[in-house]
């Protein structure tokens, strides 16, 4: 039951869900949720390949870096969101289309 | 899962007999079934004991606070009021479960469960003794940190879902406090991990010894400071006084669980008391030698050798001693926690954050560096070992 196919399938569904969330939502925070899903999908893929394909731990390392990057990204991203909200009183993604205040 | 309670029990003859009998009766290898059953039983035991300890915690808290304030405390129900907590539990269960209007019902119901799950999940890796440990994960302490952070989510969600401004403020305070203090606590844990050379609880404890000179708290000056950093952070993580801002009754009525009644409130309280026990246990495991008994009595080898006892029996005696050591130390720390609560005044929010970010975190990082340098410079010898080597060697060159 625990097989490469199962893992790839799960990560595939996670990825598609993430894409959906990213594009369908107009709320910046929701888009960030989608990004988390996508990143997890890819990290899961790496871990699965490590287990089922090549056996060395490079995939784990990569997944680890993905997690680190995701944490940093969400921290900075949410900081930007909060700042954006302070400036524009909105977190609608389309309000962020101009380059200046 | 290198060693668990199952692997310990499987050494005994009875286990082998039952295993053989069951395999024969069922027609397949019953070892995983037995493991499952034993896990279930032990988990039940632990949950029961912990629920009792959590309940007894409330009783202890009342009694000790009364003692500190020169009162008598609960004394009506049972001898010395010992059954008070049972009475409280019964009261909680029987109370009406009120949900505020406009509350987010889904989250409102989920929050206390989440807290409790987070806490109970950590119990799996708490090392009661070298045999009586539910699962000695090789990422044990790391897993514990991760699971404990679920409590923060629970607190936050509880505060949010109540649709009350007191609750909301309490929840936000609680969550921010928990994730802030997780940083010095984790860094201190890492410095101890550095000393021990492993993440699993058994490694951490195995690197220490029964005597005080072998405890990590006395290993080097940095670890000594680290213990206090960890202890303070742990207090804050469990929302205990003087860091009980999320439930500050004088400001926020009762914080994030203002709107909770009945058993849901009970779950929050239970989670808090068990978490205190867990962090005390972790402090003991990391700094105070864990379940180690002086003179290696814990392995039981001495009993079988000197008294000629059966090896399993002597091991069992050793396990009991270890359990005793662990619980003695943990409960002593538990007492300190309660003592602190009734001694120190509560901090302000800004003081809380100042303490965390300006003092504890830099100190923790400094300790981490210090431990690393110590390991590097003295090849990981403890200060006691260095003194012994220096005095024994008589200044001999090496």
């Amino acid at each position: 039951m625990i097989s490469l196919g199962a893992y790839l399938g799960i990560s595939f569904i996670l990825f598609i869900c993430g894409i959906m969330v990213m594009i369908a939502r107009k709320n910046i925070i929701a888009i960030l949720l989608g990004i988390e899903l996508i990143l997890n999908a890819s990290a899961l893929n790496f871990a699965a390949y490590t287990k089922f394909v090549n056996g060395n731990l490079e995939g784990h390392i990569m997944a680890l870096f993905i997690i680190i990057t995701a944490a940093a990204e969400s921290a900075v991203g949410l900081g930007i969101v909060i700042r954006f909200f302070q400036l524009r009183e909105s977190i609608h993604i389309d309000d962020a289309s101009t380059l200046q205040n | 899962m290198n060693s668990t309670v199952v692997s310990y029990l499987s050494q005994s003859n009875e286990f082998q007999n039952i295993h053989a009998w069951l395999s024969k009766a069922l027609g397949f290898d019953a070892s995983s079934l037995m493991a499952f059953v034993i896990f279930a039983i032990v988990a039940l035991i632990i949950v029961g004991v912990m629920a009792t300890i959590g309940g007894a915690g409330t009783y202890a808290e009342r009694k000790i606070s009364a003692d500190l304030q020169a009162r008598v405390g609960p004394n009506r129900v049972g001898p010395f009021g010992l059954l008070q907590f049972l009475a409280d539990g019964v009261k909680m269960i029987l109370k009406e479960d009120i949900i505020t209007t406009n509350a987010d019902k889904f989250v409102f119901n989920l929050a206390p469960v989440m807290c409790l799950v987070g806490v109970f999940a950590t119990l799996a890796v708490v090392p009661y003794s070298s045999g009586f440990i539910l699962a000695d994960l090789n990422v044990g302490i790391f897993y514990l940190v991760g699971m404990a952070s679920l409590v923060g989510v629970g607190v936050f969600l509880g505060g949010y879902a109540s649709n009350s401004k007191w609750s909301l403020l309490g929840g936000m305070r609680g969550a921010s406090q928990i994730i802030s203090y997780e940083i010095p606590a984790t860094i201190t844990i890492i410095s101890i991990v550095l000393l021990a050379g492993g993440l699993s609880m058994k490694t951490l404890i195995g690197a220490q010894g029964g005597g005080m000179q072998d405890w990590f708290i006395l290993h080097n000056p940095f670890a000594f400071i680290g213990f206090f950093v960890y202890f303070i952070s742990a207090l804050a993580e469990t929302n205990r006084a003087p860091f009980d801002l999320p439930e500050a009754e004088s400001e926020l009525v009762s914080g994030y669980h203002t709107e909770y009644t009945g058993m849901k409130f009970g779950l929050f309280a239970l989670a808090e008391y068990i978490e205190v026990f867990v962090v005390c246990g972790v402090a003991v495991a990391l700094f105070l030698g864990g379940y180690n008994v002086p003179f290696d009595l814990g392995t039981g080898a001495l009993f079988s050798k000197s008294l000629g006892l059966d090896s399993m029996l002597s091991q069992n005696i050793g396990q009991l001693l270890q359990l005793g050591a662990f619980f003695t130390k943990t409960l002593a720390l538990y007492y300190v926690v309660i003592w602190v609560r009734w001694t120190l005044p509560r901090l302000r929010v800004d003081q809380l954050m100042t303490l965390c970010w300006k003092y504890l975190t830099p100190i923790a990082i400094f300790n981490l560096l210090g431990c690393a340098v110590w390991m590097y410079a003295f090849d990981g010898k403890s200060i006691f070992a260095l003194i012994m080597a220096a005095t024994a060697g008589g200044g001999a060159h090496h």
């Binding site: 594009i23 993604i93 962020a96 289309s97 101009t98 | -």
Partner: protein, 721 residues
Amino acid sequence: MDYTISTVAPIVLLPFFAFVINVFLAKRVPLAAVAISTLAIFGSFICAFRIFLDFQNVYAVGYHIHKVFTWFDLSAGEHLFKVNMGIYIDNMTAVMLLMVTAVATLIHVFSTWYMHDDERFARFFVYMSLFTSAMLGLVLSDNLLSMFIFWELMGFCSYSLIGFYYEKEGAGNASMKAFMTTRVGDVFFLLGILICWMIVGSTTFVDIYAAIGAGKFAGSFNVFGIALPIATVAAFSVFMGTMGKSAQFPIHVWLPDAMFGPTPCSALIHAATMVAAGVYLSLRMFPLMEAGHLLTFIAYIGAITAFGAATIALIQTDIKAVLAYSTISQLGYMVIGIGVGSYNASFMHLITHAVFKACLFLSAGSVIHSIHCQEMPQMGGLRKKLPYTFFAMLLCCFAIAGVPFFSGFVSKDRILGDALVLALENPSYWGVAILGFGGALLTAFYMFRMLFLTFFGEPRDHHIYDHAHEEHIGWNSNVPLLILSVFTLGLFYSGSFTGQGEINLFGSKNEWFSTLIHKPEASHLEHFAHYEHEDFGATDTRDKVELPKAQYDENHGMDEHHAHWVHQIHHLGAILSILIAFSGIFMAYLMYIKKSVNPGWWAETFAGWRRALQNKYYFDDLYINKIIQKGLLPFNDMLAKFDSQYYDKYVVDGTAVLNRWAFNVARWFDNNIIDSGMVDGTGASVRAVNLILRTIQSGKIQLYFIVLIVVLGSYILTLRF
């Protein structure tokens, strides 16, 4: 008599620790600092006295203590190179240790009285402690290198103490002169050490002796393509060290100026110990001097110094200057002693001179302290005011003048007697003998001139006389003088009348000096190769009983007939010296007490000589005005000017000017052709393209994302794997 390091090391370490403590203590608790210094040197004295007693009781010739430790070790691979340090105590060291510690103790005690009004009272003792430890370290050294280290440390202390009154303009000059002049000798000394080190492989005395015995110094030394016998070069270099430190002609000029320092420091450093260290070095390296055939040269240097300094001393009016020149002169006698091979007498003169000259300086200090004046023409008649000082100084003057039964007679007469013997054997030494006896005459004269001018007659300056303090006996003011003056008696050093052993007045037991001190004979140097030494921490376990007791030998190892002849010459010399001493005293009496001979007449008659003497034979003028002011400094200025004004300005900066010219041409080409033509044109075209591309960006992120996915998809889906 088991010598561990803990019985020897305190001799050096007590004053050294006193120094270290006093560095921090001097400013805050001056009196404690003084007490610590004085007690420390007294402690050293006790240790040294114990060693001396042991050695005197053993009376064994070959007995020595030699302890060695490795200072640093450069051995790497097969190459072995270790630098050892150690202590070496033989009979000579033991005597020297006793002298240094005893004199230093008394001078420390005297200083507590002499210096106590000074604002830098404690600091003086800081330097004195450092100096004493350095001197004792030098005496205990077993090798030339550590000797050199302490040698230079003493130089530093001397520098600091001469410059002690640093507000005075002259102090700076004098201290610098002292340091630099001795440094000239030191540089040669270092060269000598290097030569020995390279040839012997170690600088330890016994190793050097053994190497000389084994003939290792036979090669030649090439410098500027000239080949010189290596033993001569080494001996000369080492002897240059002696010349610098012991103020021998021609680099004696620093010692008179060194009198700028406080008088106790002059007594200790510039009379008793440091200047004598030079002679001590030459005595230690006597086999080398012998091997280098340098003895004649040394004898003449000593003779010229002894006589020349004595002549200059004749006309000095400053009481300390007289003593300074007499010190140079007496050091000259010691060097004569080395030169004529009179090893024992030379060393004895070193010891006796240290005692009576220290006493003389302390007496002079006592006089200066009580009248605040150093000029003898302003003194006179002080006998009544300063009776104890007068008594001490009188005894010392007898000693230095060579009056029988005083120590100076014993030691100096033996040197002169040996010089006479040598002159009779080898005519080239006649000059040494004549200059020696002449110097002795002058010595007796100028010392008593000083005594008479100071203490006798009527007070010449009544203001000074009336303000002079009355002298009272005091433990730290004149008791040290009196103790020292007692030891100017000859019987402490020799049992016989002349010190040569014939007219034995006090028994041969009192001939301990001659018994103890023996010249390392050239024929016996090989046995130094078998001198054993032990580790620094080890205890000396040799059984003393096995060592042969040295016997006093009246004939000094010579055969009967020769010894008889030598004794006769010695008698002659003794009679001659007694006559000379008394005639010198008598002349002084005539001139300054009786006033029947007018010194002024002599001065007018020999005006040219007088001028030369007043200018100290023009040595200072030659060195400072001619060589340094006219030669070295202008040369330096020229060199510096060449460096900064010509070489730097034209050669170095000229290159830069050339470069700049080339750079200007390149810049024109770059600005006008490359930059404005080619580069800016590209920029303009890019700007045009920009205008078109700008409109596509809308700012909607999700749109970008969809476009991204679609484009990526259409690309990937068309690919074939």
